[in-house]
């Protein structure tokens, strides 16, 4: 082999080695973060920490309640709006396509706005303009707009994957468009829709920049109504970490990580086990 050929070969071989090292570094980073959270957090997760009252010792019970409320509010608002938007975009495509394009661009733009800018918006409209002060409702509504693109995109995908034969069959049997949508298309796409909702929940769990400006980070009181200020698990991690409670921060991170993991597993399981719609295309019609 010529020496120049050998040089080229070594050059590319070393690139290959670099790429293998990259994989290892990526995996080490993952293991490192998870190990860090587990090692530092697991000892501090006691019953009192999870469900006790926040008096002299910190408790994340207010955060648990706050997080649940936020998930509730944002899903109740974003799920119907998101699903119906996707329905409109897929089932009524014979309308003026310029409007469709505008809606699509809006959704993409919404998806690209940094979360702190959403926080500013939430602060200006709910905390100041509507005069609610810091409130779970304000945070939840802002989160709803934030997770809307996620829900619309995945629902659209699921709806598009429903084979047209089903729709046509339904029309042939005399059903109206709306009836077809609700009785045939949506149930068929249900596993994808449910998965997207579960992933949206995961998003809400992880969010904190939006909340720091809208719900007030009141870590020691359980919120009483939707208009109360409150806190969330992710926000508590920031509070504990920055205000000098590193052990509690790690413990909360541990709890949050487990929840996020469960959500992802749930989404995966739903995706796998509820997939009845796909079978139709495999049967020969």
């Amino acid at each position: 082999m010529l020496s120049s050929q050998k040089r080229i070969k070594t050059h590319y071989s070393s690139l290959k080695v670099f790429s293998l090292i990259s994989v290892i570094i990526s995996l080490i980073a993952l293991v490192g973060i998870i190990a860090f959270v587990i090692i530092n957090g697991i000892n501090n997760v006691t019953y009192d920490f999870l469900f006790g009252k926040y008096d002299n010792t910190p408790s994340i019970y207010p955060a648990l309640i706050g997080t649940l409320n936020l998930i509730l509010i944002s899903l109740v608002v974003a799920a119907p709006i998101g699903i119906f938007s996707a329905v409109f975009l897929t089932e009524y495509t014979n309308l003026n396509s310029i409007f469709m394009k505008i809606i699509r661009v809006s959704i993409e733009t919404l998806a690209g706005i940094p979360s702190i800018v959403y926080g500013l918006f939430g602060y200006l409209i709910f905390v100041v303009s509507f005069n609610w002060g810091y409130s779970l409702l304000g945070g939840g509504l802002t989160l709803a707009i934030m997770i809307l693109p996620v829900i619309v995109r995945s629902t659209e995908e699921s709806l598009l994957s429903v084979p047209n034969e089903l729709r046509e069959g339904s029309y042939a049997l005399g059903a109206s468009k709306v009836r077809t949508i609700f009785k045939v298309v949506i149930p068929c796409a249900s596993s994808g829709i449910i998965t997207s909702l579960i992933l949206a929940i995961g998003r809400v769990l992880s969010e904190s920049a939006v909340l720091i400006l809208t719900i007030g980070m009141v870590v020691n009181k359980v919120p009483e109504t939707f208009l109360s200020a409150g806190t969330s698990l992710a926000l508590d991690i920031y509070y504990f970490g920055s205000y000098g409670y590193p052990n509690e921060a790690a413990a909360t991170a541990f709890v949050l990580l487990i929840l996020v993991l469960l959500i992802n597993l749930l989404a995966y399981a739903v995706g796998k086990f509820l997939k009845k719609g796909g079978n139709y295309s495999e049967n020969n019609y």
Binding site: I24, I28, S242, Y243, G244, Y245
Partner: protein, 289 residues
């Protein structure tokens, strides 16, 4: 592939060995200056005492939010220097003497240790006068029971207490207190004692810094606002104040730090944003003169 994994494991092991070796303090490193957030009473009191009243933070300052966060940072950062509430800090950090004077409660009482400030509560006089509960709590803060707690926790009692607290079984309700994170730990203990004596009363103590204390008292968000500086009327024009305790501001460094003393001038130099770069103290060894 196998050889690659072997080398990675060896490298990782080598790194761990290096990491676990005891750290030596290197005085050629930069001083990491820690300061508090803008609303902090401790910060404004400290800056005023060392002669930098109202000035911005020095370049490269690291901002820690709250008394507890400052302590945490110094615990894990070998090159940090910070100021923090004397009553709050623990044995996990080292206290520097200032101009040869050690920061103890005796030296604060005698006035030898000059870096200290009052921990006050601010409130609207009319609100307190019209509420038996609030009047009672305010009075409690000056009784012998409170005095005992204040001294035990490492703070200085402002005025010698003369009476014991009289329990009033008719009192009930909630008291909301918020503000300075320097006063907060002490207030939590005081509040717990009061709640033990008056079982139908609940007291909520939250933080937020002296700025929040002023604002919440002024806006009726809290019954009492906690501040950790001399009361400044312009920050809460409708309020008055009462001193709960006097607290030293300790200059703290990490335990492996080899220095034991610092002069007030050197402190000013370190925290001064306008310091001439020729005379600026930026490395630890610059303190050796």
């Amino acid at each position: 592939m196998k050889r690659l994994i072997k080398t990675m494991v060896l490298v990782a092991a080598g790194l761990m060995v290096v990491a676990c070796n005891g750290n030596k303090f290197d005085s050629k490193k930069n001083i990491c200056v820690i300061s508090r957030e803008d609303g902090s009473g401790t910060k404004s009191a400290f800056m005023e005492i060392i002669g930098l009243k109202g000035k911005s933070d020095v370049k490269d300052v690291v901002i820690a939010s709250g008394t507890a966060a400052v302590l945490e940072e110094v615990k894990i950062n070998p090159y940090a220097i910070a100021y923090d509430s004397l009553g709050y800090i623990t044995e996990d950090v080292k206290k520097l003497s200032v101009d040869g004077v050690e920061p103890t409660t005796t030296k604060i009482k005698s006035g030898d240790y000059k870096i200290s400030r009052p921990l006050n509560v601010v409130y609207k006089e009319s609100n307190v006068k019209s509420s038996d509960l609030l009047t009672s709590y305010l009075g409690f803060l000056g009784t012998k029971e409170a005095e005992k707690i204040i001294s035990e926790k490492g703070y200085v009692v402002p005025v010698e207490a003369t009476n014991n607290y009289q329990i009033n079984t008719a009192l009930y309700g909630t008291i909301k207190i918020s503000g300075s994170t320097s006063l907060q730990p002490l207030m939590i203990v005081l509040a717990a004692k009061y709640e033990a004596l008056q079982t139908s009363v609940e007291i909520e103590v939250s933080g937020g810094g002296s700025g929040t204390g002023y604002a919440n008292a002024e806006n009726d968000v809290s019954n009492f606002g906690m501040i950790s500086e001399e009361f400044k009327l312009e920050k809460a024009p409708d309020c008055v104040f009462s001193t709960v305790a006097k607290d030293g501001i300790a200059i703290i460094v990490n335990k492996i730090n080899t220095y034991t003393n610092i002069s007030k001038d050197q402190l000013k130099n370190i925290y001064n944003v306008e310091q001439d770069s020729a005379t600026k103290i930026s490395l630890w060894k610059d303190l050796d003169n």
